[in-house]
């Protein structure tokens, strides 16, 4: 029971990352909750995807990029690997930048001075910390983001009106439909980031799941992720309450946290900042690991934190080089918020590459035996295959015609 509760709590805290924070606050400030249904839609999608990949990992012991290689072969698989790693790398840069920006809010030290320190801490965690400790500690501290839900409640919105805006497809009068569509794809990409699934399925292998653990896994996914999605909506809702009437846009992490300060004062803001640091640091670790997982699984190297670093030497070398690279990119003074905006859109582009092989293998009785997809999983799975495909094709054209939602 304790394990189940812990898993759910860390799933909630682990769901929100820099992409969710920034995108939800931006969209909330600009469009209110009129795109809230995309978040709900994206959360159901990530539940479907994560449940399938978690089930495959538990039953067959194979994680995402094992399956990509086995089903797509080395040629298409390599294209897939490069694209997925590039997007995860972009997200990794954004998350490390997010940690540094959050620490800048606390310390008033320029984030560029904090970045190398954050990179070092991330590497240290990846190298030394036990998998379960990393997961649980950062996930639980990430729960501090509940401050946003409390803030929304304190701001006292008209709940009926809020829900009504989520339920109907409409836009503020001064916005264009294509801008709305662009932010819709961005929100979808923020909710369904590929690394979350790489990490989730590889984490299942790390924790040595078997078919017996399927119920716990499902509880984590079907309770934890939707509650994490509620936090996303709370971020959007509180941004809508504070920024909506001012017609202001959100361009910094400080502005993301402002609604909490308005509603709850200093203490609330302090709690939210703890949440920022934990959520982005946790996500940074997950992204870093995901790069190592993907590459190692593709080439068959020993990976994982369930063995000593000396046994998985190549894996840990990749983790170290990846962290150095991500830190280096941030030191070029590139704006982490801009990197975040790119990362969520390219997440939507890269999603079908890993979704498709997992959907196929989740149906393959050779791998899955009696645990192959049922009607519900296949119905939803096929529906989301089409949706993910459309979002992937639409993402870059929308990005160009709206000039990134300008």
């Amino acid at each position: 029971m304790f394990q189940v509760a812990l898993g759910i709590l860390t799933a909630i805290g682990g769901f929100v990352d820099i992409g969710d924070l920034v995108t939800n606050a931006q969209v909330g400030a600009r469009f209110g909750l009129s795109l809230g249904w995309i978040v709900v839609f994206g959360v159901i999608g990530i539940c479907v995807f994560a449940e399938m990949s978690g089930r495959v990992a538990a039953v067959s012991g194979r994680a995402t990029f094992d399956l990509v290689r086995e089903r797509l072969g080395p040629r298409v698989g390599l294209v897939n690997l490069v694209a997925s790693m590039a997007v995860t790398m972009l997200t990794f840069v954004a998350e490390i930048g997010g940690v540094a920006l959050a620490l800048q809010l606390v310390s008033s030290v320029n984030y560029l001075l904090i970045v190398p320190f954050v990179g070092f801490v991330v590497w240290l965690i990846l190298w030394r910390a036990k998998f379960s400790v990393m997961e649980n500690v950062l996930g639980l501290f990430g729960l501090a983001l509940i401050a946003f839900a409390v803030a929304l409640w304190q701001l006292g919105p008209d709940w009926g009106d809020l829900l009504h805006r989520m339920a109907v497809v409409d836009k503020p009068g001064d916005e264009q439909w294509r801008t709305l569509a662009y932010y819709g794809v961005a929100l979808f990409g923020a909710a369904m980031t590929p690394y979350e699934v790489f990490f989730f399925s590889s984490g299942g292998v790390e924790e040595r799941w078997t078919a017996k653990d399927l119920r716990v896994m499902r509880a984590n996914v079907f309770i934890g992720f939707p509650l994490g999605g509620m936090l996303s909506l709370a971020i959007a809702g509180s941004a809508a309450m504070v920024f909506g009437p001012l017609d202001a846009s959100v361009d910094t992490l400080g502005q993301v946290g402002l609604p909490v300060a308005v509603a709850l004062g200093k203490i609330g803001l302090a709690v939210a900042l703890v949440g920022f640091v934990a959520a982005t640091l946790g996500a940074a670790c997950e992204c870093g690991l995901s790069v190592g997982y993907s590459l190692s699984q593709f080439y068959g190297w020993q990976w994982g934190k369930y063995v000593k670093p000396a046994v998985a030497a190549r894996f840990h070398l990749v983790l170290a080089l990846t962290t150095i690279l991500a830190t280096g990119v941030l030191l070029t003074k590139v704006d982490p918020i801009l990197v975040t905006e790119f990362s969520v859109v390219f997440s939507a582009v890269a999603l079908p590459l890993t979704y498709f092989p997992i959907l196929v293998v989740a149906n393959d009785p050779d791998y899955m035996g009696e645990h192959a997809n049922g009607r519900l999983a296949n119905g939803l799975g096929s529906f989301y295959l089409v949706v993910i495909g459309v979002a992937a094709l639409a993402a870059i054209p929308l990005m160009i015609v709206t000039r990134m939602g300008a």
Binding site: L359, D364, G369, G379, S382
Partner: protein, 229 residues
């Protein structure tokens, strides 16, 4: 991991063996099955004798023409004076305990990968051969290679019994040919439609399997309907 040993019955080399993870007796990861070593035995039987791994096995799989060939040239160039640069690592079939969702070895991973030395035939050579009818008209390529274990003397062998012939890439069937009931409906129907011209050719029914010229000839009348392994 799956319950049954895939090597105990008929299997398809690309679908069930190629690109799988190799795991040692302690559960540590070793490598991928980048290619499979095929040998023509003294009695003329074509069979599997080992697993191949490493860049020297993987690089040729990208393609045998165009960009793939250039990639292989670049790879050779990187090797320069190294004699064994184009020599893949090999794991003898004797060291394989069973085949589930991965290949499980019966030894520890230390020193298990040894240079292949003299180059044998490879599964990939078969997969990159065009299949033609007797007049030389292109029928397609080899999508998969059907294997079957042989238990009687002279000892355990896994022999090649036939080819899945069709258009498209090896492995692009995703297993939907073997399982007419495998879901989801949408993917199954698209994949089966793309592969509607695929067929099975028993090895004995081939008119020609020329390793040197790299071509397979078969009388289209002898192609059979594809049955699950």
């Amino acid at each position: 991991m799956g319950e049954r040993d895939r090597l105990a019955g008929a299997l398809d080399a690309v679908l069930h063996l190629l690109d799988r993870q190799v795991v040692d007796v302690e559960g540590r990861l070793v490598c991928k099955v980048d290619d499979v070593e095929l040998t023509v035995f003294e009695d003329g039987v074509l069979g599997v004798t080992g697993l191949l791994s490493g860049p020297a096995a993987l690089v040729p799989r990208f393609a045998h023409d165009g960009l793939g060939r250039r990639l292989h040239d670049y790879y050779r160039r990187l090797g320069g004076p190294q004699l064994d640069h184009d020599d893949p690592y090999r794991i003898d079939l004797e060291l394989v305990e069973r085949l589930g969702s991965g290949v499980e070895l019966n030894v520890r991973r230390e020193g298990v990968l040894v240079p292949q030395g003299e180059r044998g035939r490879r599964l990939n050579d078969l997969l990159q051969m065009p299949v033609q009818d007797l007049a030389g008209v292109q029928l397609g390529g080899v999508l998969d290679v059907r294997l079957e274990p042989e238990t009687q003397e002279p000892g355990r062998r896994i022999r090649v019994v036939g080819l899945v012939v069709g258009r498209g890439r090896p492995g692009s069937y995703f297993g939907y040919d073997r399982r007419p009931d495998m879901g989801p409906w949408l993917v199954r129907n698209v994949v089966r439609r793309l592969h509607r011209h695929s067929a099975y050719a028993a090895l004995d029914d081939l008119d020609q399997l020329d390793w040197n010229a790299g071509v397979i000839r078969v009388d289209p009348a002898r192609l059979q309907e594809l049955e699950p392994a």
